[in-house]
């Protein structure tokens, strides 16, 4: 396994440089929006770290799928997988290596974002407002972080199974949006059956429920349907798909 090679091969392209610059601008912008402007909007005049991180999850919900799908499926789309597999013919080893490299990028991105959220919350609360609130940090860990982890897992599964940048991005970004919308419609309809179907596919809600310790066996269903099954199918496809 060579995750260092996969990291470098992703980072040294012009597309990745543009993506990372745009991502940085978005993360800094949303962190500033959440942390610095919050005191002016909140009745108490405080800045709450949980609220700042909530703001940050908006761009991260787009950035994480884009980076993840590009890192796992990008080489299939631009055909450079041919050279990769000629130099590293162990296909499952290459796949594992890419997953590791993607996870490292995710961890760095999330750590940077949370650090930035804490900094802007402190600046906004202590220097510009009536105080910074950090006591809600467990909410960050039980609510926002699981949501981001769910986004990573689903994006990985889509990248692995679809092996196409376009299809992977459409699925990884579009499916959660469709499921959330379907959830709202199901609630409006009041149908238990439709609600259960949507719940069985709502990975993000299931992730938050499980992280809060309130999960049941049913909450594992989205993980099975949206992550485990596509990943297993994708690993099989990765191992046998012909190149060229």
């Amino acid at each position: 396994m060579r995750p260092d090679i996969d990291l470098r091969s992703f980072l040294d392209t012009r597309g990745a440089a543009i993506l990372l610059i745009l991502s940085l601008i978005a993360v800094v912008g949303f962190a500033a929006l959440g942390g610095l402007i919050q005191p002016a909007l909140m009745p108490e005049g405080t800045s709450d770290v949980s609220f700042t991180v909530f703001f940050l999850t908006l761009p991260l919900s787009l950035i994480i799928p884009v980076i993840t799908v590009l890192m796992t499926a990008g080489e299939w789309s631009d055909q450079s997988i041919q050279n990769t597999l000629l130099q590293r013919p162990g296909r499952l080893s290459v796949l594992t290596s890419k997953v590791l490299a993607t996870t490292v990028v995710f961890l760095v991105l999330v750590a940077f974002s949370f650090g930035l959220a804490a900094a802007t919350t402190w600046i906004g609360g202590e220097l510009m407002g009536e105080g910074a609130v950090f006591s809600t940090f467990d909410e960050v860990l039980t609510s926002h972080l699981p949501l981001l982890v769910a986004t990573l897992l689903f994006s990985l599964a889509m990248g692995i199974v679809l092996q196409s940048t376009v299809l992977g991005l459409v699925a990884a970004i579009g499916a959660p949006f469709v499921i959330t919308t379907a959830g709202v419609i199901a609630m409006a309809l009041g149908s238990d059956l439709v609600s259960d179907i949507v719940r069985a596919l709502d990975l993000q809600t299931a992730a938050m429920t499980l992280a809060a310790g309130d999960g049941t066996a049913f909450d594992l269903l989205p993980l099975l349907l949206l992550v485990i099954v596509p990943t297993v199918v994708g690993i099989r496809r990765w191992a046998v798909r012909e190149v060229g």
Binding site: R2, I5, R8, S9, D12, T13, R14, G15, A16, D78, Q79, S80, I81, Q82, N83, L85, L86, Q87, R88, P89, G90, V240, E242, V243, G244
Partner: protein, 322 residues
């Protein structure tokens, strides 16, 4: 000082043994066997769709054979511990990432295959791209991509080279450069297998030839053997019956005039065939040695002249002639 010669004194042998690959009902490669030995440049020839690229992909582990095996030094490509240090491969220059510079492409390859970063600069100079190393591959011409692709193949200092249509897009100077590169590589004990459509280029570069058609081997031998061997020029009282008999037995032929055919059989075998099919031959004789182009067209049943193209389309796959 740069090196294009393989590190090993004698490179591994490439061996394709009874390889068959089917896509649905169609056999892209059909029981194909041949060997490429160290110190030789082997040309892999065949018309479009003959199965050359499929064979090369099987040989390099990018596709799996349904039957048979393809070996590099006695082992499948995928089981080699450092494949890129043993075999340099260039199958498709478009497979290079367009968003990376030429130098970065080579540096990344060097790092992947465990070579020092300085090897990238060395190879960049070797392939004549030292002036374009900082330019993104997306802005390269096809010929420059071909050179870079060959450079990627050479980074690991391999003892074997497998190249698919390496001369495509190269200018005359580039073709001469490639010819020298492959010659010196083989002369130093390396093994080279290259496929190409550019028959005159192949003729000037290779020692041995493997000719396939419709996935099957139709001829294997040295360049001298193939080009010095004669086919047979034959005319018959009933030219239609002659063609029908040749088609029936899958023998490749090419019209030389309205009545005369050049057949890929020796005169003796042509005589036997005529006897068996009860054909009256009006002339039969060995033709003189041909150039590679004529040999290729005769062996693969492809016709060079447009007026005869319609007849060529109706020809079945030629029978192997060993």
């Amino acid at each position: 000082m740069t090196s294009t010669t393989p590190s090993a004194s004698a490179g591994p042998t490439l061996e394709v043994r009874g390889v068959t690959k089917r896509y649905g009902a169609r056999a892209a490669v059909d029981d194909l066997s041949f060997v490429c030995r160290p110190g030789t440049v082997t040309g892999f020839l065949g018309p479009n769709g003959a199965g050359k690229s499929t064979t090369l992909r099987i040989l390099t582990g990018l596709a799996r054979a349904d039957e048979g095996e393809a070996l590099v030094g006695g082992a499948p490509y995928r089981s080699l511990s450092h494949p890129a240090r043993t075999v340099g491969v260039m199958l498709d220059a478009r497979a290079l990432h367009g968003g990376r510079t030429g130098l970065e492409t080579l540096r990344l390859t060097a790092r992947t295959v465990g070579m020092p970063a300085s090897r990238a600069d060395e190879v960049l100079e070797m392939v004549g791209l030292q002036g374009a190393g900082g330019k993104r591959v997306g802005g390269y011409s096809y010929g420059m991509r071909q050179r870079l692709g060959i450079g990627v193949a050479l980074v690991g200092d391999p003892a074997v080279l497998i190249l698919d249509e390496p001369a495509n897009g190269l200018d005359p100077e580039g073709i001469r450069w490639m010819r020298r590169l492959l010659r010196s590589f083989a002369d130093a004990g390396g093994t080279v297998l290259l496929s190409s459509h550019q028959l005159r280029e192949v003729e000037a570069t290779v020692d041995r030839l493997v000719v396939i058609s419709q996935g099957r081997l139709v001829r294997e031998g040295t360049l001298e053997e193939l080009t010095s061997e004669s086919g047979t020029r034959v005319t018959a009282l009933d030219p239609t019956a002659l063609r029908t008999a040749l088609d029936k037995h899958g023998i490749a032929y090419e019209p030389r005039s309205e009545t005369e055919l050049e057949v890929s059989l020796v005169p003796e075998d042509m005589g036997r065939l005529a006897l068996r099919e009860q054909l009256v031959l009006t002339s039969l004789g060995a033709s003189k040695g041909n150039g590679l182009e004529e040999v290729f067209f005769a062996l693969t049943g492809q016709l060079e002249a447009p007026p005869a193209a319609a007849e060529a389309e109706n020809q079945p796959a030629p029978a192997p002639i060993r």
